[in-house]
């Protein structure tokens, strides 16, 4: 009673809390988006700067630069993979060609992951309900999050732009402030569009995972359409159907076409408005594509943790398989025609990417690098799903029953490995179907082997993920996507010969032979699988000995 009186004595009239109710959600979202915007802006800027600075060192004479332009500028294969390559005699043209497609894809991935995390992810966690209890509505709160994401986007652009402007100043580079700023706009344009795509899929899907998957599938389709448009098959008009194509049409640093900003801005704005409208049209916690709230019991897979994992993750994994199969089929379609355009210098670049063959084999060898990256995403998704099960306290439902932690994690690992192997098989088989439809003459066993060859790097990513999960569970997602992003950046930059061998070795994809351009290196594959499984084993042992940890 006395203590109670003491509390009463301290109570005063409520005072106005800091910040306006109209902007508190935006400020909260902005704080989170700005953090990752700074990090990724730094990565973008450094990647651009490294490309600009190394050009002069690599191609010192006019003859070397002309040779570079003559080969890349006419290669349909390179154009399909990385976009057109005009003005390769200049540092500007080289930089755009070398780095822009990678940054466009990374920017899109950043956009969709950040957006779905701060919208559907917050809703999944229940924190969204707390915010909606304040002086706001579902629509206003969604609009505020989108505004916060906009602040994150501006931060991404600002950090990228500062580094790009600074790296463009030396006379050896000689790129002005205006072109640098415009180039930076181009490099974050996909981030803007996929922030909006993620905002819409967050309204459509019932979970963050599904929202991110839908957005990633849209990215895959966009890349595939752009690839066809740039593959020299007489379908260049398709470039205006793909958001990635619009960014390509900005043509920064070479022949700027600012009008291409119009579809980018319009697409982003329309999707943002659609997201806000959809948020107002549904209940908090519900989704536009939500299934029924009732259903008959389907018990076939519900025999234990592994069966449940298959049931819960199958939609996501099948989505990845569709993306992998579709892109492999496209590679099969273009392999013959693009292989015919490969000349000496392109062979050299392909060789740096690991594909020392020529013709359709070499095209497949390089294109399958992208398949390996997609399979890497499948591996990363499996580990982060396991961590989510722990952080959301669902794992406790199993381990307070007669299920050991080892059995749970081992089951998840087996499910993940099967998903990875089937991903590789799908890439090989469907790639062969595409190639066969064009009478490319490639053997089924060769492409099946090339598909299986994609699996070991993903096993390494899986193993590193499990090791992190066992030792530093809260860092699992960051570490696994950092390994994937780093490996992607290094192997693509390395393809242009600007990175030392010891740096290249840090990319898991560098150790994968570019089959079928060259035969699979089963010894290296065995070592990668060994490393992956050993890391997973150590992670599993550590997991057995640690406390379960929430988010």
């Amino acid at each position: 009673m006395r203590a109670d009186r003491g509390i009463r004595a301290r109570i005063t009239a409520p005072v106005r809390a800091g910040g306006s109710p109209a902007s508190v959600v935006a400020a909260l979202s902005a704080r989170k988006a700005v953090r990752s915007g700074v990090l990724w802006g730094y990565i973008f800027g450094v990647a651009i700067a490294s490309s600009e600075i190394t050009y002069g060192r690599l191609y010192k004479t006019a003859a070397q630069r002309d040779a570079l332009a003559a080969t890349y500028g006419t290669s349909k294969a390179m154009s399909a993979l990385f976009g057109p390559a005009p003005q390769l005699q200049t540092v500007s043209g080289f930089t755009v060609f070398k780095i822009s497609m990678t940054l466009m894809i990374l920017g899109a991935a950043w956009g969709l992951l950040t957006s779905t995390r701060l919208l559907r992810g917050e809703e999944d966690s229940g924190r969204w309900d707390l915010l909606l209890c304040g002086q706001t509505t579902r629509q206003r709160a969604t609009a505020q999050v989108i505004a916060g994401l906009g602040v994150g986007l501006v931060t991404l652009w600002a950090v990228t732009a500062i580094i790009t402007v600074l790296s463009g100043r030396p006379s050896s580079v000689g790129i002005g402030v205006g072109p640098s700023l415009y180039f930076s706009v181009g490099m974050v344009a996909t981030a803007a569009m996929f922030l909006a795509v993620g905002a819409v899929t967050s309204q459509l899907a019932a979970t963050r995972r599904l929202a991110a998957t839908l957005a990633a599938e849209f990215l895959g389709v966009s890349y595939g359409v752009r690839l066809i448009a740039d593959a020299g098959m007489g379908l260049h008009g398709l470039i205006w159907v793909s958001p990635l194509g619009w960014v390509e049409e900005l043509r920064p640093l070479t022949s700027p076409q600012p009008l291409a900003l119009l579809p980018i801005v319009a697409f982003t704005a329309v999707l943002a408005v659609v997201a806000v409208r959809l948020a107002g049209a549904r209940d908090a916690g519900a989704s536009i594509l939500a299934g029924r709230d009732r259903g008959d019991a389907h018990l076939r897979l519900l025999y234990g943790p592994s069966g449940l994992a298959i049931r819960l993750l199958r939609a996501t994994v099948i989505g990845w398989w569709v993306a992998i199969g579709l892109s492999a089929f496209l590679y099969g379609l273009i392999a013959k025609s693009t292989g015919a355009t490969i000349s000496g210098s392109v062979k050299e670049v392909f060789s740096k990417l690991g594909a020392t063959g020529s013709g359709a084999d070499a095209v497949f060898g390089v294109c399958f690098l992208i398949e390996a990256i997609l399979i890497g995403f499948v591996a990363a998704g499996q580990v982060t799903a396991a961590r989510s099960e722990e952080s959301e306290s669902m794992l406790e439902n199993f381990v307070v029953r007669p299920v050991s932690r080892s059995a749970w994690l081992g089951g998840r690992l087996v499910v993940a490995l099967v998903a990875l192997v089937l991903s590789g098989v799908a890439a090989g088989v469907v790639g062969w179907l595409g190639a066969a439809s064009q009478h490319t003459g490639m053997s089924f066993t060769s492409l099946l082997g090339a598909g299986v060859n994609l699996v070991p790097p993903a096993v390494v990513i899986l193993g590193i993920g499990v090791l992190t999960f066992g030792t530093r569970p809260r860092a699992t997602s960051i570490v696994v996507y950092a390994v994937l992003g780093w490996s992607l950046l290094i192997v693509i930059v390395g393809g242009f010969g600007t990175v030392g061998h010891w740096v290249l070795d840090t990319s898991v994809f560098h150790h994968m032979a570019s089959a079928p351009g060259v035969p699979p290196n089963w010894e290296a594959n065995g070592i990668m699988i060994g490393i992956g499984l050993a890391a997973a084993l150590i992670g599993g042992l550590a997991f057995r000995r640690r406390d379960l940890q929430g988010a």
Partner: protein
């Protein structure tokens, strides 16, 4: 020393999080068939104790056994004999109630299907609904049914009635009584004193990670005073001088006071002073609990 009658036993069980001592050398023993309440304010160490018993966390020191099995070294064997209900457990939103119960019974390895159906009826649960469509209370019903339907030897309950309405709380109490009648052991952590008072044979009180009291309600009465109210036909006597009496409040011919220890001196004084009405009341568990923690407030 473990005996065949011991369901749960801890010995010097401790858990630190950095500099924070969440549980400090807990020695606890629960006999088979007992219903034991486990009380303490937020942060006292109740959930930490339960997580250590379930092997979800590793102890810094000490050990815990359930039916003679080491909770850390033999978690699977231990869990085969128990079921756990958390007040804040998460379930899979896309599964229906029926699918969730089927999954959890398969994982446990045993289920009394007739009892499960009876529980679904008793708790008025619609099992065809998906978990994401359940209210907080219905969500909790699924978790309760999942634990009760396997008829475990030990029920470990951490705020089990969180979100349940009073009718469902009664249904829960009925289930605990049934479990006790069948010889099951129940370890109940709760903030609802009336629930603990109604269900538990013994009660433990935890403070700052230490078990400060453990016993039956009768044994714990000494923690708080007996409240006595008396009405007099004549002048109200001065009771403040009577040994063991305190907090005397007079209001006309009525007087209220508290008595610690023997009530005999007070009864003698009241009889000689011409008492016409006499009412005495033992402290409730809530009063016992507040008395335990009130000492801190007074000291502060």
């Amino acid at each position: 020393m473990h005996t065949s009658d011991t369901a749960l036993r801890t010995e010097g069980l401790s858990k630190r999080f950095g500099d924070i001592v969440a549980l400090d050398h807990l020695d606890l023993e629960v006999t088979r068939g007992e219903v034991v309440g486990y009380l303490g304010p937020n942060g006292a160490g109740k959930t930490t104790t339960i997580r250590l018993l379930l092997g979800l966390s590793r102890p810094t020191e000490g050990r815990a056994e359930i039916f003679g099995l080491d909770c850390q070294r033999q978690p699977v064997e231990t869990h085969r004999r128990l079921a756990f209900v958390a007040g804040d457990a998460n379930l899979w939103p896309s599964l229906t109630g029926a699918e969730t119960l089927a999954l959890l019974s398969r994982v446990h390895g045993q289920v009394d299907e007739a009892y499960r159906d009876a529980l679904i009826e008793r708790f008025d649960l619609d099992p065809t609904k998906k978990v994401r469509a359940y209210s907080k209370g219905n969500h909790q019903k699924v978790i309760l049914i999942a634990a009760l339907m396997v008829r475990p030897d030990l029920l470990v309950l951490d705020e089990p009635t969180s979100g349940l309405d009073p009718l469902m709380e009664q249904a829960f109490r009925h289930c605990v009584h049934e479990a006790k009648d069948r010889g099951q052991t129940v370890f109940l952590s709760s903030h609802i004193m009336s629930e603990v008072e109604a269900l538990c044979d013994r009660v433990g009180i935890l403070r700052d990670g230490r078990l400060v009291e453990m016993g039956t309600l009768a044994e714990m009465r000494h923690l708080s005073a007996l409240t006595v109210e008396a009405r007099f036909a004549r002048t109200v006597p001065d009771l403040s001088v009577v040994p063991g009496v305190s907090a005397v409040e007079a209001n006309g011919s009525m007087v209220r006071c508290q008595v610690r220890g023997s009530i005999e001196p007070l009864v003698k004084v009241l009889a000689s002073a011409g008492v016409t009405e006499l009412l005495s009341r033992e402290p409730s568990l809530e009063e016992l609990f507040l008395a335990q923690y009130g000492a801190d407030c007074r000291a502060g």
